[in-house]
Symmetry: C2
Subunit: 794 residues, 2 copies
């Protein structure tokens, strides 16, 4: 766990002072820059030391065979893995005779700072070479949110004591050597040298490399250009070889007369266009970047972010770490989605190669519920990507003997890449999450054009899946047998409550949308009979209930299973899946991540308040949170049933997931869904926001440590600010027509210029529920009280 | 399917006239010779053409990595595969300038005949070379049932028309080139060149090869010696190289003056003894064989088999094919088990590399229930092998978080080799089958020494497994969740009826045996508390029942699942597992092989006759028999509930499984368990024999086609012959003290010299049950009526 005193706690940035090689890989993830199209890990300019070098392009992957000891019908035989593309961030430095490498000589000071408003990564290092020559190296790095194919680096080196000869090598490097990874099955399979060189070129201060991926046959080009600002006599040479483009700058510099250069980098790739087209695309982007210039790129970036924060900022008073963390999370959410046009949202964004760069249900089930209120155009893009993969999803359903679309559990390009079907293909709930994201997007934006061209088709094809996946039993109930719900410590069970309820919403949404757009529905061969079949199935959806215990079993029979022997489980045996066989986890009452509790959140309309309280208490006792996709949901329901301090504890866990490396795998990339979980826990948890259909409800209440929470949501052409303090909630309409809201069960209307303040009624939730031994979230209040905190801003 | 008119229907042999290359691989399995230690497929003497060359030694395997696309805790990472060892059966022939190869020139006649009483494979071929020279080649091959390490071949070549020069090369060949196999996941992974040469030697008419397996580190030696009988001038040369031992005989022969040779082959192998020790062991066995001589080996073989058939023969009047098939099956059962001392019984015996040569539950659940009555010493050996693997089974249980022993689903050496745990490790019922085999062996033999030294420990460690695998629920019922029963079209379900009832018997048997042997039990740390725990669990064992349908669900919830859409399933989509995903098979009502119906058989004491009739009818409608381990069980229960003609149809399917290649994979080896299924269907089916504890019951009844059934069982020091005709059953005690039997519910006592004849009461079972479309077994009676039969003996 990074409990690193050097991570300063600042409201608008993440700053690391000093450099600990042990946390290098984690910090590379935390300081990654991305625009959703290009991803650059926070590797040091000079490339080494590193945890994991990483440059990614959304959608660029290589194929690898999926081997099985015992094969079976329908097992995917080819997997997709994100690859480390041409590294354009490398700037090596030679100080007199010594390469600048912080492992040697003496590092006098080092600071990395990620600025959430400027959208840049700043670095300053003062270093004394083994020979005793001291320099200050400064750099500012950005991946442009405005110019999608462009990244840039401002770089400066200055002697601290005496004149020096320096050589700066600004490079493009393909097929970088990567550290080998083994052990943890969650870690990615690293592919060695995936790029075949096609073309390399260098002239003036420019260089370009064009490569093809070996198996997937994608073409990618990387180009760089420079502005060099050095003392008289500064020399520049450009050269290239198949895997290396290099611009070498030599200069004799003295204190007060640094060498500066700006490096512009552009990428282009395609699976269909010609190699010259891809090359020209990269060169064109580079020309635009150079034309904009460094200051122009900086200004554009700030402008983009000013607009984003005006829509998205969340203010938290009383816990500076949470304040920082929620902005950190929203910044990385933005980076993962802003310019991912036509591609999915990988679980790790473009911050690392974890989960092989795959997109999972995370994007629709966790990221989009936040993104829709803050950056709805990114949701439309990501759902359009899902639609673009429909031919593969229809094929997959057909292969599985089902109708409609079976979207993959994990993929980059669209084909199923899950090599273990009980926790992959069988997790059909991903399809309901996609439909839910479509429904929410439409509810919030009323984007008719999207619904007609994208949304309806996704709803129809997923509804068809559910209709064929379930069946009416002899009593008429609609059952969905043998599927896997969100909880990965259960699999292939009957009538998973979450799945059935989400399928129910999916079926209804499809029927409703088809009714709204009859012409488009007919083009998809939907007729009245089919719509009636969806409504029937939804109406008759079976939801198991255990009347003896008075709770909902997660799936049929779940509450008859033996409860996991938590007392005999040692603290170092978590996550359980690394120390116990799936066979045993599956047949016991132990929950990896919110499943029934996620149903209480997403389908809260299907439960009474009393059921929610009992169910939550029951599942708290057996939920171990071995997944990053749990704490935020537990926070939401803890808040709903009134356990505000517990909600706060879960909020903190979600918010600090990567900043404190809770899951010990931040090195492989950030948990984008967990990061947005801090927004979910604050807005849907503490503020109790629920949005079913056209009803926007709030039930705000703060935990004892917090004094104020304020956030903004945009919907239906309005922008609404909600501010909650200990006694009162205030609703302020910043833009748009008056809007109806419900505050703690009471309807209200908020209009521009007429904020509404309402008192927060008290709540008596009774005893807080218990968690498995050792699995209680860290009690945030007592951590604050005892002062285990990172230093405040300086 | 082999519906080959050339397979003559003879009571005591299997004869193939002519040679069809298309059925070569199947015939190599059918004509395989083995003694349970050495296995030689029925490859042609000259080696080619072949379907699959195969020489096997029980327990000789190579390791191979088991790769997973997504690994997990407790997944076996190393698999074991039977390898093709040094081929000692090769005898090549050159006729003048032409190699004897039936694909070239003209094959005037060809006959292979496997003699069940002599225990030899005879061959005669008359062949004319492309140059027009005609020879008769005759050979007789045996793998000695008496001399475990020895096989031998009598070989003769004679010109038919004119004098000829012939060269005979008798060889030992290591690392034979094998055909590559792909597609069907049931087919074995073929390992190329698994043997490392250590030593080769040749002198006089002898040669020897010694090899090591690369990864598993086993040492194996093969030696050969010859007696050559040729005309004056016959020359002999012996030579060797690392992978080849060769004795070359050259002779000029004329009609009436053939060249004859006898080839003696011996094998030795060990995983622990030194290379010289293994070499000397093979040479010693060879010396003994040569000393015995060809005629001596033949006479020993006949003597061994005369004794076996006196104990084991079954006579069936009215269906010559079934008569042949049951003897064929018993002969191969004997070959698979007779001399397998200290090793398991592979699913395919030593007749092919199918299922990678692994032992499964088949051996305890199907082979031993027959073997115990006919060859009990082989059962003791095979169970002692299980005991020898206990350290690995105890480790496996520990790894899985269980107590006692978890025996592997598939293995050669003892470690789990199943790479798909839902249909492997989770099939814990293999442990109950082992315990059941122990219990049956003791019930039938009263072998106290075995029980004390072998049986008790197996019972105790398997009982411990069940006790830790299940749990008492809040009502006190003992439940076993998340395991896989026999039916491989369901997996990881709760309270599989078969598993729970077999576990119940296992728990009780362990408690009873521990009580009988308190001192031995104490040495295994069994105390009164533990025994009481076993009895409690057995007493409280939960058995699900569906009161609405009035049937037992195979597992919890099974009868709530959708019934498989049989109407939409095409005839060429069987076996379903090759055309549909497991996910869909698992969640529907479709049964690959008897599961609940196997419970009706093995735990018939736990069901009323009415339940049996209803359950059988219910499961008949959804059972597709995509496994060879089903027809015999369905036959038994069909007979018990009175559907004699259906029982007869299933009997025929089991009996003809390999002779007619019902499963299309006889090429990979015979289905030993299905072969013994013909005995099960005749004795436990038609004759209704049941043996619970010390009560031996019969309920005999013949289908309309059969006129008489007679068989012998040995138990408790007695030998009892049972003869059934259409009206009467006659019980004749051939040896031993008087014995109590129950005939159709009525007790009787049978003494030596006092046969008991009893009438067979009529039965009115009502309408026969129906099967899924196209999955009804072939109606045997109408096949007999329409004369689709193989030719009778000539």
């Amino acid at each position: 766990m990074i409990r690193h005193p050097a991570f300063a706690c600042e409201p608008w940035s993440l700053r690391l002072t000093g450099l600990d090689v042990d946390v290098l890989a984690q910090s590379e993830s935390l300081f990654a820059l991305s625009n959703g199209h290009i991803g650059w890990r926070g590797n040091l300019d000079e490339g080494e030391p590193h945890g994991l070098p990483g440059s990614y392009l959304s959608g660029v992957y290589e194929l690898r065979p999926l081997p099985y000891p015992e094969g079976g019908y329908g097992y995917p035989e080819s997997g997709q893995t994100v690859i480390n593309v041409t590294n354009g961030k490398l700037i090596r430095l030679l100080v007199n005779d010594e390469p600048f490498d912080i492992r040697y000589g003496q590092l006098r000071s080092h600071e990395l700072s990620l600025d959430f408003r400027d959208g840049v990564l700043r670095r300053t290092a003062e270093w004394e070479s083994p020979d005793g020559y001291a320099v200050r190296v400064s750099s500012v790095r950005l991946v442009s949110l405005v110019q999608r194919a462009v990244a840039a680096i401002w770089y400066e080196v200055e002697p601290l004591d005496e004149p020096l000869r320096v050589v700066v090598q600004s490079e493009l490097v393909a097929n970088e050597q990567l550290p080998s990874v083994a052990g943890d099955p969650r870690a990615t399979a690293v592919l060695e040298a995936p790029l075949l060189a096609c073309e390399d070129d260098a002239r003036d201060v420019r260089a370009r490399l064009v490569h093809l991926t070996r198996e997937s046959g994608l073409c990618l080009a990387a180009s760089m250009d420079h502005v060099v600002d050095g003392p008289p006599g500064t020399g520049v040479v450009a050269e290239s070889s198949p895997d290396l483009g290099r611009v070498t700058v030599t200069a004799s510099i003295s204190p007060g007369h640094p060498l500066r250069l700006v490096k512009f980098v552009s990428y282009g790739w395609s699976g269909s266009r010609s190699r010259p087209a891809v090359r020209d695309q990269a060169d064109a982007a580079l020309a635009a970047a150079r034309q904009t210039g460094w200051d122009g790129l900086l200004a554009e970036q700030r402008g983009y972010l000013d607009d984003f924060w005006a829509r998205a900022d969340v203010q938290v008073d009383g816990d500076a770490e949470i304040q920082q963390a929620v902005r950190f999370g929203l910044f990385h959410m933005l980076q993962a989605t802003a310019r991912g046009e036509g591609r999915g949202i990988p679980a790790k964004g473009l911050t690392g190669s974890g989960y092989e760069g795959h997109c999972f249900w995370d994007s629709e089930a966790f990221v989009m519920p936040v993104l829709t209120y803050l950056l709805p155009e990114a949701v439309a893009h990501a759902l359009s990507w899902r639609q673009s993969t429909l031919p593969m999803a229809l094929d997959r359903a057909r292969q599985l003997g089902l109708r409609g679309a079976a979207f993959p559990w994990r993929t980059i390009h669209g084909e199923e890449c899950s090599g273990y079907w009980p926790a992959g293909t069988a997790a059909f709930h991903v399809n309901a999450a996609i439909a839910d994201a479509v429904t929410r997007y439409f509810d919030i934006t009323q984007d008719e054009a999207f619904e007609k061209t994208v949304g309806l088709e996704l709803l129809v094809q997923t509804a068809r899946l559910w209709r064929s996946l379930g069946h009416h039993d002899t009593e008429g109930a609609f059952r969905i047998a043998g599927v896997t719900g969100p909880d990965e410590y259960s699999a292939v069970a009957d009538n998973n409550v979450y799945t059935n309820l989400m399928a129910q919403r999916n079926l209804r949404a499809a029927a409703d949308a088809a009714k709204r757009h009859p012409a488009e529905a007919r083009r998809l061969d939907v007729d009245e009979e089919e719509m009636a079949g969806w409504r029937d199935a939804a109406q008759a959806m079976y939801v198991p209930y255990d009347p003896v215990l008075g709770v909902h079993p997660q799936s049929d029979n779940f509450t008859n299973h033996q409860v996991w022997d938590f007392a005999a489980t040692k603290p170092d045996q978590y996550p359980l899946m690394l120390y116990f066989p799936y066979f045993d986890l599956y047949r016991k009452q132990v929950v990896k991540q919110a499943d029934l509790v996620l149903a209480l959140h997403r389908r809260g309309d299907a439960f009474t308040p009393e059921q929610k309280a009992r169910d939550f208490a029951y599942y708290e006792r057996i939920t171990v949170r071995d997944s990053s996709l749990s704490a935020c949901t537990q926070s939401v329901i803890a808040a709903e049933v009134g356990h505000m301090d517990l909600a706060y504890d879960y909020l903190a866990e979600a918010a600090l997931m990567d900043l404190e490396d809770v899951e010990h795998n931040t090195r492989d990339g950030l948990h984008i869904a967990a990061l947005v979980g801090s927004w979910i826990a604050l807005v849907e948890g503490l503020a109790g926001m629920r949005h079913h259909g056209d009803l926007l409800c709030f039930a705000p209440r703060l935990p004892s440590a917090l004094t104020r929470l304020s956030f903004t949501v945009s919907l239906l052409g309005r922008r609404l600010r909600v501010t909650v303090d200990r006694e009162t909630a205030t609703y302020t309409l910043l833009a748009g027509e008056p809007i109806k809201i419900v505050h703690c069960g009471r309807p209200d209307t908020v209009a521009m210029g007429a904020p509404v303040s309402r008192p927060i009624p008290p709540i008596s939730p009774g005893e807080p529920p218990t968690q498995p031994p050792g699995r209680r979230p860290a009690p945030r209040q007592s951590m604050l009280d005892t002062g285990i905190r990172r230093p405040a801003a300086t």
